[in-house]
Amino acid sequence: MNFEKPWTEKYRPQTLDEVVGRPYIIERLRSYVERKNMPHLLFAGPSGVGKTTCALALAREMYGESWHQNFQETNASDERGINVVRERIKDFARTMALGGNFKIIFLDESDALTSDAQNALRRTMEIYTSTCRFILSCNYSSKIIAPIQSRCAVFRFGPLAEDAIEEKLRRIEESEGITITQDGIEAIKYIAEGDMRKAENILQAAAFLGKEINHELVYQVSSRARPEEIEDMIQAAITGNFMAARKLLDSLLIDKGLSGEDIITQTHKQIISLDIPEDIKVDFIDKIGEHEFRLVEGANERIQLEALLARISKTQR
């Protein structure tokens, strides 16, 4: 199979009807289309659960052919600073909407804005409220300041249900002329954890390797450290060979490109199934938690993981 375009794009729903797994949200959005009016919206939820898709479909239905002129997509985390965001919004909002009363500005990752920037954004929203509606998308609505939240209708997008993902994968299967075995479907659902982007990417990656997609193919293409690799590292530490453990750690961090958090959560899983005294196990889990917390607080992943491995080497001696 040759690459044509990402399946996330090829199979992105064009209308609200095509969106799977979001019946209540779609119903509310459709009522905006019927009334040809809407408030500012706040879409909150993790990656790959349909926030952007719903915004795009809403715009298409609201404006029909001319949706492109009336819809501006901006990314808060990629643009440099709130001023750039404001300039772009200003330029866009200045002109009249075509075939409608207002334009839509979709601001992705708006929780990446600092609270100062959000206050500035709030001003902007007020100034252009007659000509523009905002759809703000974020991972956590709690990171959006209260004044903005109160000006928006809030939509919560949880992880997609497994049924919804299966339905979509089966549609793609039919249209692409591939076969997905049931264990393949289960594997994708398990790894995707409710993230449609992830599910579709795994499926497409697997399809480059074979026409029949089973769970083995799925695990092969989803980039995770093999459990054995983590186990080797822990075993090296347990036998007191710290330098060997560090070398394995480096290969996971550098060659595999895993994040410190990835490695630490997988280490946690491995430690539980390790054949060591239970009290030591509990002590390790305490330490692992502490080091993960430090990573979240901005500590250095290699130093923290080294300290953890050194700690494991010591207890076993």
Partner: protein, 446 residues
Amino acid sequence: MMFNEEYRPRSFKEIHGQNKPLKDIIAWLNTWPNDKKALLIHGPSGVGKTVAIYVIKNEMDLDLIELNTSDTRNAETISRIVGNAASSKALFSTKKAILIDEADNIKGRSDIGGIRALAKVIQETENPIILLANDPYKLPISIKDLCNIIRFNSLRSASIRNRLKEIVTAANIKISEDVLKELASKSAGDMRAAINDLESLGRTIYQEDVEQLFDRDVKNSIFEGLTAIFKSKGTSCRKVFYDIDMPPEEILYWIDENMPRIYDPRDVACAYYYLSRADVFLGRVNKRQYYRLWAYASDLMTGGVSVCHKYNVNFARYESPGYFKSLGRTKAKRKLTKSALFKIGAKTHSSTYDAKAFLPMLNYACIKPESGVNVARYFGFDPDELELVCPKTAKDILSLIKKEEAKIKQLEQKARKKKEKDEEKKKPQIKKSSSVKSQQTSLFQF
């Protein structure tokens, strides 16, 4: 093969900046044994002492017998190996010489009696003996009195630059003149270090890469600092670091790299406890921009690591923090990653963060070069970005694209020629229609 092996000079013209001592060595060899003395060549590391001898060996067809530190050099081996060679004259016209590398390191239990045996051999030899040393003061007077002395000085940055330039050309590395100059000046006169640095930076070298390198002068002082930590047992060693011009993160990386090599394994966990605590404070400094916390980080990484030292330490060479250097090396790569992710994001309505989710899939999409061409076209990747997204097949993909483009060009040229021919045919008959036609095309282009 390492650059330092691969590009080891083999002829006189490949040696830069050591002409004077080189000539002196040759002169000494040619006049030997006019005073029956050995030759002591000394100077800092990486300035070309050993290289000079080997080039002379090559160019003058010298039969060289070498004894370096990997061999034990006690009285018995020195008399046996060197003695044998020293007393047997070369069979044919080739000149024979004996090289004793790292002569200032003949000591310790395994080299017992080595010095006395060496003195004896120098006095009785039938062939010239050359001693190499970093520090001539470590050699006993009894040996120095038996030697002519030639010194190799630290290389000038210009000499290093000239040699690096030759290597860069031979190895096909992309680096600008200015960056090369900076790289050469970073090594503090040590050619070997400069070549190692060059090799560690990859095929395309940017300004930022070189900035990541450790200044070799600072390196000497960090070595002293590390020794202070690893050999003392208390917080007094923290003072040594007040003078080192290096940000605390970097000092932490140096300690992190070397502590587990030096410390007894039983002390490593304790030392890492404090190192990781120091790292927590550094993280807090960055997060809150509250620089007073640096003081705690510094004290913990020096004093904390030092108090953990309970058992005997190992003697190992200090290494520069390779892991973080390789991170630094990827700094340019990270910038590139960002630009590639930006292009992916633009096509998939994703932020650069979410765009990462596409990378594994695209990697599989590139397995077949024909499919990879579509990937490159769809996202509009430039060659560097493609190399990142499809590291294994980027070359094949690019050559395929080139081929296709060449074909298209050819077709276009053919079409243009044909068109010109056709127009020429038409010209004399109906001039007007051709002018109408050209108007039409320009309208179309507009």
